[in-house]
């Protein structure tokens, strides 16, 4: 799920940036530092939409670096248990398949794949129904439900299932090509 929230961060700025464009430099550094990171609490920071407030800088003794408390707004993405996501399959093996929804890695184990789909090994490993009408392989797009998340300080990993109503392949790369 996406959220638009206000976050805070203490930015350390090198003295060489002190000058007329201090603020711009600070914001640029903030974006570089923060966007794409993941915190267990808030999820992935997708984008910074604005800087609300930059507090008074504090010069660190010895180094000359200045610490600014910065308040900024950001779009974050955090997967939840029970959430339905659309994801792109990245790898298929006998144990199941891996998919990505943006920055999040999702693993769907083979017992969470409908029973009528069977693993076909080969050049392009895939899961296929007996009549061959539905095929899950690399680059397929699937709609899945998250049934578990493991949130580390810097990483979020999810377990998904497609064994439920309205879940499964939503487009077939083979058919589109």
């Amino acid at each position: 799920m996406f959220f638009h929230i206000t976050l805070e961060r203490n930015m350390q700025l090198h003295p060489r940036h002190f000058g007329p464009h201090l603020r711009d430099k600070l914001v640029a550094k903030l974006m570089k530092d923060v966007e794409g990171t993941c915190s267990g609490r808030h999820g992935f920071v997708v984008a910074i939409t604005g800087v609300e407030d930059i507090g008074k800088g504090l010069i660190r003794e010895g180094t000359g670096f200045v610490t600014f408390p910065v308040k900024y707004q950001a779009v974050v993405f955090r997967p939840f248990k029970g959430e339905i996501l659309e994801a792109v399959v990245t790898m298929v093996n006998k144990m199941g398949f891996f998919a990505e929804a943006g920055p999040v890695q999702i693993f769907v184990s083979n017992h969470l794949i409908p029973d009528d789909m069977e693993f076909q090994s080969g050049d392009m490993p895939n899961y296929t129904t007996s009549d061959g009408s539905v095929k899950i392989q690399k680059d397929s797009e699937v709609r899945l439900k998250i049934i578990g998340t493991r949130v580390d300080a810097t990483e979020i990993f999810c377990i998904g299932t497609i064994k439920d109503d309205f879940l499964g392949v939503i487009n077939d790369p083979g058919a589109a090509a």
């Binding site: 199941g96 891996f98 578990g148 299932t161 064994k163 439920d164």
Partner: protein, 469 residues
Amino acid sequence: MSLEPFNRLVKLAARAFYDDVTIKGENQPKTGRGDNRGMAVIVLDALTRRQWVREEDLAKALKLHTKQLRRALRFFEEEKLVTREHRKESAKGAKIFNAAIAATGDSQQGTKEGDEKMKMHMHSYCCLDYAQIHDVVRYRMHRMKKKIKDELDSRNTIQEYICPNCGRRYSAFDALQLVSMDDEYFHCENCNGELVAESDKLAAEEMGDGDDNARRRRREKLKDMLQKMEEQLKPLVLQLARVKDLPAPEFGNLQAWEARAHAAAQASGDSNAGDSSKNPQAQGYSGTPMPFLGETRVEVALSGVEAKEEIELDTKPTSIKVLPPWMIKQGMNLTKEQRGEVKPDVKVEQSSFSVDEKKSNMDKEDEKSLQDEYLKAYYAALVKRQEEQEASKKVPQDVELAKNVSEAPFERHVGMKSKREGDNDDVEWEEEAPSTGNSGQSYRLADLNVEADASDHDDDEDGIDWEEG
């Protein structure tokens, strides 16, 4: 449009899902003095006998505190069983509602006088939302089943993997680290052995592990629960299936309903005022208010029959305490308490028959079959009577005839009827038209076992009536 199947659905659902619901306020301590479990069922039951009803009236009828009832209704509103409407209204507004109530054949004593004094008060009305109830119950059943089935299929459990070599366990969360580029299996981080999914192993060689035991027990329990659920909710499922293709009774919102009821009353060609002012006295407290739609009453509108029907309605609720259908089991004898309890409440009009009544009371201690017989005889007499009425409007002879046909408890009705007829003219009969639908209904309610028969019987009777009328 028949309410009966839907009412039955509501009643079954109430007993299935709301039987042990305690309704209390948020700030009320858990150990409140009143354990009001079961109240939910009573309120729902009462609502099945009404359409739109003012909450105060309902509270009075149920002898509940308004606050308590409101809390219950709020709960039902959240459960999407009940629609409520609040509006500010003066005494006049209340009167409109009363008129509508009266038009549907209902009469609530005591509210009339009170209303005159009220000045722009907030009034709340409530009504069952049958269409939504149908959906809600279906959805609830679906969710229940799905939840258990999901757990049985271990659909939402995280897969675990075991290394058969070193016994190390992994969960699916570690999957990313376990993938090997060489083949399609997961490999142990320690010994690089191929991992086995735990459930596969479980199926292969039933391990005697304590953990697994617990899991198996849980599975057993779930299976058991699912089976029990299917078994115990079977009546509800059947009723759902029965109701599926029927159009749900739709009362519309309060205004629409009032307007409709009013219009229907006008159409039936009598004055509301007369009806509502007369009925309270006639019905007394014992009369169960059963407002029905205008359509229902149009069904049987034969002149001459109505008066009789009306009498039956009058006596029904008093002579037989209506037992809900699910309470009556095969071979169950209806005792005096169940039928005769309300007896002393009979109307003032009938006071002259009190002696007869005592007698009939005793008679009624008999089995249900007597009751059926009585009804049959009653209908027979009804037909006969109507015939004769067509020929001549002379009453007393008819009574004698009817008396011969009918059983002892029946005498009273005939006698009373003749008296009434002496008093009232044709206009009176027409006015009673709404109650015809009621009598059939209450009869069916009273006797589940012969439900199908009863309705057939009714239909037959109707057919005859029409032909002859």
